[in-house]
Amino acid sequence: MDDAQLTLDLDGWEGPLDLLLSLARGQKVDLRKISILALVEQYLAYVESARALKLELAADYLVMAAWLAYLKSALLLPRDPLAEPDPEELALRLQLRLERLSAMREAGARLMARDRTGRDVFARGAPEGLRTVRKAAWQAEIFDLIAAYGRISARTRPVMHVVADREVMTLEAALERVSMLVGERIDWSVIESFLPDATMLQDGERLRRSALASSFVAALELARQGRIELRQASPFAPLYLRARA
């Protein structure tokens, strides 16, 4: 690879390591047997020629050039066993890096040369396609069902009130009671005194009112039959009863 070609390819380098690898390949030996010193000299010569042509080199290339110049001097000077880092070590590391880059470059080329889908091999042009039909598996428990019916019943059924039986005093009973009691009385007696003792009975107040109504009607009936007399001073005043003499 001559200088002219290197110059032409200036834009093509993928960094200083790439340039070094190309130069190393120029030695046409296994990278493990490469002369690092020769490689360094080639690189420095390339950078010099680029400068002579007033080509702008990226900073990476100049940094590498400076480092290689240091490596070159270290390799040429008599070996100082205390020198750190050991120039042989630096040279070996550079060689290892070149090997790795080279390996990946070859791997990339082999990868690209494979039978690639859409270029060399093809999938089916018009596949029928596979379909997955989602189907609901409906779930409900018996409790949900029963509870739902309970809920509907409670919510919507007409609520019917049934009035419980309760004790009343019938008109017949009142007639009998009033006609019997009135005969035992000598003087006028207020109608309430003919009622049964309400406090003795369960639900007494209700029964007392029923008895009052029935006894009043009974009193009217007995008066109509001429068996008793009624007396009341004014509307809503106490009503008195007395047996007819």
Partner: protein, 200 residues
């Protein structure tokens, strides 16, 4: 399959990769000179009885999956889903009152039901149409199915608890009703007995 010669292989590959059925001329444009028709016949014979095959549609040829394998290309995946509240209430009404029309379900439920609700119940296989009511409009009636009994673990509909059972279980005591009753008794009113329409 015995490997065919390269010309037949080429026709096979071209037909496979094609995005639409191909005429013999179109195939030839890819594979070059050769007896395409005879290659297609060889391929048709090669694929006889396999899961895929070569078919002719008019003057065009294509690969396609065997007709008896079509059902394999589609698969059903069951996803568990819970019935909605409307769904379970509608199902309960049908179960307790069947056969019952949609209007009757709505009257009992006190709320309209959407068309989808009955569809879901029929899709689930729990409800089926059960003739028509002989009244004006002849509305469709619905009833529960055998799958309904199986799913809910019932020997028959008589196994469904009656209203008295529901009451005993407290299932007729939703919060609002119980609350109303509490208020009544505080006012000194008597307990209203609910006269249940006997179900079943």
């Amino acid at each position: 399959m015995t490997p065919p010669d390269d010309f037949v292989r080429a026709v096979e590959a071209v037909l496979f990769a094609a995005e639409a059925p191909l005429t013999i001329d179109a195939i030839r444009a890819h594979v070059g000179a050769g007896d395409v028709k005879s290659a297609l016949e060889t391929l048709t014979a090669n694929y006889a009885g396999r899961g895929i095959g070569i078919v002719r549609r008019g003057d065009r040829w294509q690969f396609q999956t065997a007709a008896d394998m079509a059902h394999m290309l589609r698969r059903d995946r069951e996803e568990p889903r819970k019935l909605s509240r409307a769904g379970i209430e509608t199902l309960a009404i049908i179960a307790y009152h069947e056969p019952v029309t949609r209007a009757e379900i709505e009257a009992i439920r006190g709320v309209q039901i959407s068309k989808g609700t009955l569809d879901v119940l029929m899709e689930a296989g729990w409800v089926k149409p059960a003739g028509r009511r002989e009244v004006p409009g002849r509305p469709l009636m619905f009833a529960t199915s055998r799958e309904f009994l199986v799913h809910f673990g019932l020997a028959s509909r008589r196994d469904l608890p009656g209203i008295d059972d529901l009451r005993a279980a407290g299932l007729l005591d939703p919060v609002d009703l119980a609350f109303d009753r509490l208020e009544d008794s505080e006012d000194g009113g008597e307990d209203g007995a609910i006269s249940g329409i006997e179900a079943g």
